[in-house]
């Protein structure tokens, strides 16, 4: 039975770091460590970005603290020829794909819309703010990859609120009808700005997959190994030509919706504290240490590397020059149309 057929939430590591499932996910020690390195770096950079925004170095910033496992575990399951269609909170996934952190953050610096990184270089589409529209793009890309006869797949990230949009339905239905090699990856982080789940949907988002005749699976989004295993199974299914998969990763947005949001207006600190005890980075570190995949020295050196890297990113993003006003009119058309 495939992990995609699981009726319960897929979880391999419990909140206390103990194994509750088969944690042999096919990653060697290097792979397991790489996962941790990505999560640690993402966590640290996210906090740095919050600070940079408060210091006036970034425009509005959407933090993803708490969602590191959901993003890193899923992005890590993809291959170099695959293509990711993010929303606007997927910095951790972008880093796994090899997007340059400074180029990504130029978006939040306000240097350029979309992100000045080359989408083709890392298989990572521009940051997408209109809610759920990117899911359809992923399906289109997947249809194109299938027409090309490649085994590549597309993965779209979206949130629990996005799943209420019509574009979610149109994307899911088209993906199923065309058997597109697409993975619809919902990070259900508990809040769509201020709207909680019971005001957003009445049935589990993954349950909708039945209506599209595709697998729908819920996974503990704070368990990086579980997210990796589920996504890997969806990737393999897509590569086999069996079509799309809907994944609902249950996670939590520890921070506000964005730096412009005040989450204390709509949720209780007790809820945030409860989710902090399920922290994805701590949980994975505990498991790694308990199972001798890493030792204290590794964690320390990883932290030091991360600090040095974040310092570089900070220096890089705060010294990015503003674009020239000449560039305003340069890109709308391949050959600019003269002003009337």
């Amino acid at each position: 039975m495939s992990v995609l057929d699981a009726s319960d939430v897929v979880r391999l590591i419990a909140e206390d770091g103990s194994a509750v499932g088969d944690t042999d996910v096919g990653l060697g020690t290097d792979g397991l460590r790489e996962l941790y390195r990505h999560m640690a770096r993402a966590r640290r950079l996210d906090r740095e970005c919050m600070a940079l925004q408060r210091q006036g170095e970034l425009t509005v910033y959407p933090p993803f603290e708490g969602q590191e496992a959901a993003q890193v575990g899923s992005a890590f399951a993809l291959g170099p020829d695959d293509f990711v269609f993010p929303s606007f909170r997927e910095l951790a996934a972008a880093l796994v794909r090899g997007v340059d952190a400074v180029e990504y953050l130029e978006y939040h610096r306000g240097t350029w819309h979309g992100g000045p990184y080359d989408p083709y270089a890392s298989g990572f589409a521009p940051i997408c703010v209109p809610v759920a529209t990117q899911i359809v793009h992923a399906v289109g890309w997947a249809m194109g990859a299938k027409l090309d006869g490649t085994a590549a797949c597309a993965l779209a990230y979206f949130g629990d609120g996005s799943a209420s949009e019509g574009d979610f339905h149109e994307a899911a239905n088209m993906a199923a009808v065309f058997r597109a090699p697409a993975i619809l990856f919902c990070q259900n982080n508990g809040w769509a700005i201020s709207v909680p789940p019971d005001e957003q949907y009445a049935a589990p988002i993954a349950a909708r997959a039945v209506g599209y005749a595709m697998p729908g699976v819920r996974v503990d989004g704070n368990d990086v190994l579980a997210v990796y295993v589920v996504t890997k199974a969806a990737v393999e299914r897509a590569r086999r030509g069996d079509g799309p998969t809907l994944i609902e990763a249950l996670t939590y947005r520890i921070g506000p919706h964005s730096t412009a949001d005040d989450a204390t207006r709509y949720r209780h600190q007790e809820e945030v504290d409860a989710w902090r005890r399920r922290d994805p980075v701590d949980r994975y570190r505990t498991w790694l240490l308990a199972n001798d995949h890493v030792d204290g020295a590794f964690v320390t050196s990883c932290d030091e590397e991360t600090e040095a890297w974040v310092a570089q990113v900070r220096a890089g993003i705060t010294s990015v020059p503003d674009p020239s006003p000449d560039e305003l009119t340069r890109h709308a058309f391949a050959r600019p149309i003269a002003a009337p």
């Binding site: 289109g140 194109g144 088209m174 391949a334």
Partner: protein, 324 residues
């Protein structure tokens, strides 16, 4: 010499594109076996297969949205919206993404997408089947917008639109689908952004596009018998707009009447009148006149001829302008 309907000319342009460029795809609602509700895709699925010509679910946002992904994957999507009035769910994808992608990626990702939309009125259709959506697209930076008025030019414009590296909204005047024209279709016509002058006359310049071009020509014929010779400009392209051709004609005639079937307020006439002010003000002998539909929703069949600019409406506007 062959006589072509506009529907057949468009079909020929799609067929030639599918044959000449293996990266082109044609899709939309009912474009397969049915050949589209106006038969523009007739026979294409049989000829090119179900992978390159395919029906989609009824999902206009989805149709426009997959264009984005397909373009990123290196395909050239040619999508059909079944009717103007049903194209609005796609506006989010068109405005939010298709129009902006090139700018958002600093030129790294182009959107060579064509969206064909059967548009405008005059076919005694049901509601939502006679809309003039051009202003929505013209006002969205990053899109080209073209409207053919004749079968042969429909072929030229569609071929150029498909080859264009940027997104083109292709508005097809439903009322002209079955109009006929003799000649060989060619891609070697005026480029997108260049208007055609169909009639020369020194008394007044008539500016129009789509089906209204023919009412302008009929008006020009009628006015000739009254001794008033009009220039008739078929814009073909609303973005880019050929200000040079309009300006040169109005500087010569000193008078301009803009004709469209879209509602009056912020219709193309507003922009064209403004541009005439910018490039020909000192030459104007009369205010620029507009002959348009009123600012009301498109009416039922029994009233549509009262809604659309008539030949007599155009003649009257020219007479007022000439005698100003």
């Amino acid at each position: 010499m062959a006589e072509l309907t506009m529907s057949a000319a468009l079909n020929g342009a799609l067929r030639d594109a599918l044959r000449d460029d293996p990266r082109t795809l044609v899709f939309g609602e009912d474009v397969g076996d049915l050949g589209g509700v106006f038969r523009v895709t007739d026979g294409l699925q049989r000829e090119f297969g179900r992978e390159r010509v395919f029906n989609t679910p009824i999902a206009e946002a989805g149709i426009a949205g997959i264009c984005v992904g397909l373009a990123i994957a290196g395909w050239r999507p040619i999508a059909e919206m079944q009717f103007d009035g049903f194209s609005y769910p796609a506006l989010d994808q068109v405005i939010g993404h298709i129009a902006k992608y090139r700018t958002r990626t600093r030129g790294r990702v182009s959107m060579p997408v064509v969206i064909r939309i059967p548009s405008f009125g005059g076919i005694r259709g049901k509601e939502h089947h006679g809309e003039s959506p051009e202003t929505y697209y013209v006002h969205t930076a990053g899109l080209k917008v073209v409207v053919p008025s004749s079968p042969l030019d429909a072929y030229t414009l569609l071929t150029l639109a498909i080859r264009d590296p940027d997104p083109v909204i292709y508005l097809e005047p439903k009322a002209r689908y079955w109009s006929k024209e003799q000649g060989e279709p060619t891609a070697d016509g005026p480029p997108i952004g260049v208007a055609r002058t169909l009639r020369d006359g020194d008394a007044c310049t008539l500016v129009s596009y789509g089906a209204m071009v023919h009412r302008c020509l009929a008006a020009a014929d009628a006015l000739t018998s009254e001794g008033t010779a009009c220039t008739v400009i078929d814009l073909r392209s609303l973005v880019p707009l050929d200000t040079a051709t309009i300006g040169a004609s109005v500087r010569s005639s000193g008078r301009a009447v803009v004709v469209h079937e879209a509602p009056r307020t912020l219709g193309m006439g507003a922009e064209i009148a403004a541009r005439i002010m910018e490039v020909a003000f000192d030459h104007l002998e009369a205010p620029v006149a507009r002959v348009t539909a009123p600012d009301v929703p498109y009416p039922p069949a029994s009233l549509e001829q009262a809604y659309l600019p008539s030949v007599e409406d155009i003649c009257e506007a020219v007479r007022r302008t000439v005698s100003y």
